[in-house]
Amino acid sequence: MFLRLVYESFRRQKRRKLLAAIAVTLGAGVATAMIAVATDIGDKISRELRTYGANLVITPEEDTLEVEIGGLNLKPPSDGGYLNESDLPRIKGMFWRNNIVGFSPMLPVNVTVNGTSIPLLGTYFSKPLSFGKDKFAAGVRSTHPWWKVTGEWPGDDSQEVLVGEGLAAQLKLQTGDSLEVNHEKHRISGILTSGGIEDDQIVAPLSIAQQILGKPGAVRRVYVSAVTKPEDELARRDPASMSPEMRDRWYCSPYPQSIAFQLQEAIPHSHAKQIRQVAQNEGKVLSRIKGLMLLITISVLLASALAVSAAMATAMFERRTEVGLMKALGAGDVRVAALFFTEAMLLALIGGAIGFAWGALLARFIGRSIFDSEISIQPVLLPVILTIAGVVTFAGSAAAIRRAVKFDPVYALRGEA
């Protein structure tokens, strides 16, 4: 009898049930999408923040001072230490390898073009490398995304070079011209715009710079772009002073400091540190954005809970005549309340489940269209959403059900509510 009552109620009152179900579905959908976006946005924005370029730099352990003004290197080329190019793929063997978005080795040298001294920067553009079974590409195209080339990027094993736009204008060079660098001809594959000192330089594959310097395999410094976690108290502490457990926690968190530490371990005779301009501000921007999304998600959850409860309350309030009839036929308060709560819970379950699916689609759409990557939905979220939907529906209908049950059936049946 009880089940039949519930079934008939859903069958006969399609309009009311549909409105209430739509309200619950929409609320649950928005809640799902917002929770998914808010939990994932830190990761998404930190990948986007990589457009600021490298946040870590590796230099040789024994190094002399840089003597560089406006990109012109005044240090004698023989001076200072070098890193070994063949050690670089080991970066992809460290603990946080999946957080490394890219790295590029740099080797600045001075060359003679038309009798004047001009800086030439040797680097990777997008060089395929492998470590164990891992295959990946390293170079400025991932670490310096703001570099724009008119023409084409040179191949990493070619003899082609890029010329900065300032230098190109000064020497009246164009894409396709050939440039004599230290009495050797190189084809210019493109003109580089970087908005930095490279605009007045020649940028060439690393091997050309090594050849000019006469040191095969030498690298002056390596820029690393890594996804990091905003630094906190723990991050700033000296790992040498930590207890073993704390040190493990520090080592296994992707702080700029701990990734720098691991880079230093991976590359022999190196010194790694964060580039504070990028690394420090990244943390600040990231925590602001995460905080904003958290607060917005809370307000959105509250608002949709209120809206859904209001809709549920109205749907329940409309049915006081029905309650009156049931009570007139001899149903007790508890049975009537149980019937309505069962209906509400059914609505919450159905609405919550459909809403979850809809919210998951929505989150995917947001991830794809805004961040060009998937926003993953944790299955754990389903019971959470169903619980929230249940609680909200319950809270929304409770007051209305109580009033309906308390109401004298005589008045209700006479329609004098």
Binding site: L26, Y52, L65, G70, G166, G196, I275, N281, R288, I289
Partner: protein, 374 residues
């Protein structure tokens, strides 16, 4: 005369019905109003944040330092009066900091880059510099961490020479940035100029404002300073544009979602409320009210409800938005009054839409049936 009295009494009757309807069924009217207020408040808060988030985040992004650099084409010094000229052209919308560089030698002949700058300004421009103590007195120097390691124990005064001229400086603090600054020694501009006679060769500017505005300012500066090169720091500008764009898009989608959800829930609530009063309308119809009058009454009621809820919701919304601003950005989010008409319009439209469906249903039903309770 008679018709005027009639019209007046009709008008006052209409008003009375509106007011009494709200007062007598207080509970239901308040529930409907509350639902509308929640929707209007959320809409206001989301739209206010959407409008303001760019300004808030731009402040954070200015911590990344200069986004425009002025330099000479050949690395020479800029004319002396140029800094003042640039500063007047900024109209207080940015910070301009001069830098001058020479390669000097330490006592044992080690070449080192020495820079002159305005410490107070640099402290604001480059907030990421990790400095143990900022120089205050004349002849104080800020020493890059790698130079400090090379020069040995900290605090001991040392000599620097440039083109035969020597200056004795006291290192007061060390500087750590992870970039080229680590290998430099920084002096204050007056010390630097009286020692080397070299003026600033670079001016770094942190502009606040939209990308278009910055590009326009770059254009103005370039026209005013034809001998210099004014260029945007693309690394900073492009990344900022990317992140701001993504954040705004996320907020916009969120705003649309929550407004749609709240709006639909309000629709469900209001429809129920209007539908619930079908007996009232049946009575009105039975005692001779025209269909137009009933529709007009319903529409006026819905519109009033929508407008009142929108105004209250707007006030609640700006409080929520400014609370979020204070908690997260430690800065107030100013109320955006441009949002108010949008919220009022949306609220009235939703309320009217909620009245349309029951009206249509009521129009088809005979009053007798409703009054009989069918």
């Amino acid at each position: 005369m008679k018709s005027r009295i009639l019209r007046r009494s009709r008008g006052s009757m209409f008003l009375r019905m509106l007011v009494r309807a709200a007062v007598l069924r207080r509970g239901r009217a308040i529930a409907a109003l509350l639902a509308l207020i929640v929707a209007a408040a959320t809409a206001t808060a989301m739209l206010t944040l959407y409008v303001d988030v760019q300004a808030q985040l731009r402040k954070e992004f200015r911590n990344y330092g200069a986004n425009v650099v002025i330099a000479t084409k050949d690395g020479q010094s800029l004319p002396v009066e140029i800094l003042g000229k640039v500063q007047t052209m900024l109209h207080g919308e940015g910070l301009a900091v001069p830098f001058s560089y020479v390669v000097a030698r330490t006592r044992d002949g080690q070449p080192v880059v020495v820079a002159g700058t305005d410490f107070n300004a640099v402290q604001k421009l480059d907030s990421w510099w990790s400095v143990s103590a900022w120089p205050r007195a004349p002849h104080d120097a800020l020493v890059g961490i790698r130079v400090a390691q090379l020069l040995g124990p900290q605090g001991k005064p040392f000599d620097l020479s440039f083109q035969g001229k020597t200056i004795a400086v006291t290192p007061t603090g060390t500087l750590q940035t992870g970039a080229a600054e680590d290998s430099r020694i920084y002096l204050s501009s007056p010390d630097f100029e009286s020692w080397t006679g070299v003026g600033p060769s670079t001016i770094e500017i942190a502009f606040s404002g939209s990308r278009e505005k910055i590009e326009q300012r770059i254009h103005e500066l370039q026209r005013a300073l034809p001998f210099a090169q004014v260029r945007p720091v693309r690394q900073i500008m492009e990344a900022e544009a990317v992140i701001l764009g993504k954040m705004r898009a996320t907020l916009l989608v969120t705003a649309i979602l929550i407004i749609a959800t709240a709006g639909l829930c309000v629709l469900a609530t209001l429809t129920g409320w209007v539908f619930d009063r079908r007996r009232d309308f049946a009575v009105m119809k039975a005692i001779g009210a025209s269909r137009r009058m009933i529709h007009g009454f319903l529409a006026a009621e819905a519109a009033t409800l929508g407008a009142v809820a929108a105004v209250i919701g707007f006030l609640v919304g700006i409080v929520i938005a400014s609370a979020i601003g204070r908690i997260n950005f430690h800065a107030p989010v100013p109320p955006q009054f441009g949002v108010l008409p949008v919220v009022i319009l949306g609220s009235v439209v939703v309320a009217l839409m909620a009245a349309v469906w029951p009206m249509w249903l009521l129009g088809r039903v005979q009053p007798a049936n409703i009054l009989r309770g069918e």
